[in-house]
């Protein structure tokens, strides 16, 4: 509520929508990829996990980043020292984006070449990004100094 009160609405909407869908998509991808190790139909779960990351997480990440950049340029474009919570947001978004990309490639290989180890690794990586992005959500609301 406080967050929305003093900000341009549409970029904030894009950012929040993208971020929350992103967390759901990476959590889904992580569950599917990790569950594939113990499933009776592992190939099906690896394929579904990869597609969830490709068609869910990746577009959501792009929407989240567009919203973030748009808001940042409007509100903090002229500020020399960014607040801590902005640093947490950018740090988790940049590193998390890179990890998501690596996990996407690994899960794609795991799905096409039946590699259970790669699927598990991709699942662990996206699970870690989901946790990091939940910390970022906390920082966006709490604004720790």
């Amino acid at each position: 509520m406080m967050l929305a009160a003093s900000r341009p609405e549409f970029p904030l909407f894009l950012h929040v929508l993208g971020a929350t869908v992103l967390i759901g998509a990476v959590a889904s991808g992580a569950i599917l990829l990790l569950a594939s190790a113990r499933s009776e139909d592992p190939a099906y779960l690896r394929r579904l996990g990869f597609r969830t990351l490709l068609f869910g997480a990746l577009p959501a990440y792009i929407v989240m980043r567009i919203g973030a950049e748009w808001m940042f340029s409007k509100e903090f474009g002229d500020v020399k020292d960014d607040p801590t919570w902005i640093g947490i947001g950018y740090g988790t978004a940049d590193i998390g984006g890179l990890v998501l990309l690596v996990a996407l490639i690994l899960s794609g290989i795991a799905a096409s070449k039946s590699k259970p180890g790669l699927a598990r690794l991709a699942g662990v990586l996206v699970a870690l990004t989901a946790v990091a992005w939940l910390v970022a959500v906390w920082a966006m609301g709490g604004k720790p100094s």
């Binding site: 929305a4 009160a5 759901g24 569950i31 569950a35 499933s39 869910g56």
Partner: protein
């Protein structure tokens, strides 16, 4: 961090759990429309379980911390129009989501029965249960209500 900041942080985290759960259920619903074997259905059970926990945590968290924020902050009141709209949308999302759940629970129950009976091949009944129009419609309404809830929270019409 002030107490109000903690409330906002917990409200946002709850919103992330709620939307995250809706995304998990969407993945599940899209997936079950294309399956016809018991093993495929049962493979999706972990997603259903985690989504079920996330939706409870998220939906309770958004309303508890949201109302608490409206009481704690001088700028807003629980009787503000946009807060009442949010509560109505939350109730619609909760009820339609709750009604969608048994529609898909039937699929998992049937898959377990088929597997217990030793049937591993494709089943027309399982396929039909995965394509439930009622379940998809209820989930669609719940998702739309959550999206409108987000719009209402961001724009705060009338505030």
């Amino acid at each position: 961090m002030t107490f109000d900041h903690w409330l906002l942080a917990l409200h946002l985290l709850s919103a992330a759990f709620l939307v995250g759960a809706m995304v998990m259920f969407t993945v599940l619903i899209v997936a079950v429309r294309r399956i016809d074997r018991p093993a495929q259905a049962l493979a999706l059970a972990p997603l259903m379980r985690v989504g079920g926990v996330a939706v409870i945590v998220g939906s309770l968290g958004v309303v508890i911390f949201g109302v608490w924020l409206a009481i704690a902050l001088d700028a807003y009141h629980v009787w503000d129009g946009w807060v009442i709209v949010a509560l109505v949308l939350w109730a619609i999302a909760s009820e339609t989501g709750r009604r969608a759940d048994p529609e898909y629970a039937k699929l998992f129950t049937k898959a377990k029965e088929l597997q217990a009976a030793g049937q591993t091949e494709s089943s027309a009944e399982l396929k039909a249960l995965g394509r439930t129009q009622q379940g998809a419609m209820l989930h669609g309404i719940a998702s739309l209500a959550v999206l409108l809830l987000l719009v209402d929270m961001i724009w705060k019409p009338g505030a």
